[in-house]
Subunit: 211 residues, 2 copies
DNA sequence: GATAAATTCTATAAACCGATAGATGGCTTT
DNA sequence: AAAGCCATCTATCGGTTTATAGAATTTATC
């Protein structure tokens, strides 16, 4: 009976310890050339193994995309939901939402990028799933903005739906250039949050003083 | 000698009158499935012709992409430059820039979308070209914002580079959802411009009145 | 209506790519 | 060191896709 808790027995079908590394390589290449622009050979090259060896780690190229996308959205929704449900002001919550939405760029930019650009190529089932997920996130932003309007924190003539899409678009676009620009996430978050809440314009052009 | 100015003689190698239609079909399919996700067969299907017939209109699939991308950026830069060089206020110019940047979505959303999402797959030479073009446009937005800061119209602590990327990201993202959301360009432009210049926040939370 | 030009078709070559099957070697455990 | 599992390899099949060649058909011109 000797039950062993070492890495043995427990798994009937292989451990595949290198799996995370494989998925990371896939993310890198997918991010750079896109899903259909990538041959499985490209992933193998990056890893220094043979093309066919990849199939020990996933059953199909699409399955690999699915894994990458999953890691690309992991936690987003939950974090956003927590923030949205806190009882801070709408301004504060929106700023936190922006920060939370940008944070993953720091350590998994490729995964996020692949999710954003390649999710359309997921098999039907999981594409639907991430569709729902995506709409849920939009809704969270939209609701916080709507609450801000209702509370008198935000302008009354704001269209919460459009504003939410604007904010998300702005943040998501950062995935494309975050690495090239030399700016940290916290700096970026602050800049974006202030841009959205306060705008670019100066508050009170003070009554013109004579020099 | 009889020189004819009718549509004859002038072109030695064919007229290819259907070319615009062909390119439009390519744009449609590229926009939906991406460049590498599209087979030339798909374009042919949409047109009701045979796959091989396409090659009467362009020498390669990449060349078709090039044409689509070209139409996707046509005029952007020139329009933006004119606006940036006008002597309106920075606020006004930025609003006009946003409007001008969104306008093409009305009648060539597919072309714009393809340019934004698929330009990475252009052959090296033209990719470099649109790279320069793209940076030029960023620069225009950035400069107007910088001038607004210098003129005291915009907050002094704004990072013009990041703000420009934010605005462009916001506008470009609209290409993905413009059709689904039922909103006209003018409405969208106004909303976005106000969002960027004034922000979401209310100006003067008036000294708290009783209820 | 004859002729020429423009357009579309059929047929197919050649390369590429995803995926499977089964062999091989190395590491772990007993 | 024997046994078994884990990981990778070799070899290859079948399907897809881009692109070319040349015939056939339609359209325009005189």
């Amino acid at each position: 009976m000797t039950v062993v808790n070492f890495p043995s027995k427990s798994r009937p079908g292989g451990q595949r310890r290198r799996r995370p590394e494989i998925i990371e390589a896939a993310a890198r290449v997918f991010a750079e050339r896109g899903f259909h622009g990538t041959a499985t050979q490209d992933i193998a090259d990056l890893l220094g193994i043979r093309q066919a060896s990849l199939y020990y780690y996933f059953p199909s190229k699409e399955a690999a995309l699915e894994q990458v996308c999953l890691k690309g959205v992991e936690g987003f929704f939950e974090a956003a939901k927590l923030i949205a449900e806190s009882n801070a002001s709408a301004r504060e919550r929106l700023s936190l939402l922006i920060n939370s939405h940008l944070s993953p760029l720091a350590d998994r930019a490729d995964f996020v990028k692949v999710f954003l650009n390649e999710r359309q190529h997921l098999p039907t089932e999981s594409r639907r799933r991430v569709g729902r997920w995506s709409r849920g996130l939009e809704r969270i932003f939209e609701d916080v903005i709507r609450q801000g309007v209702a509370a008198g924190e935000f302008r009354a003539d704001v269209n919460p739906r459009l504003a939410a899409l604007a904010v998300l678009g702005m943040c998501n676009a950062a995935a494309s250039w975050y690495r090239k620009e030399n700016v940290g996430i916290s700096r970026l978050s602050v800049e974006f949050a202030r841009l959205i809440v306060e705008g670019l314009g100066k508050r009170d052009p003070p009554p013109r003083r004579h020099r």
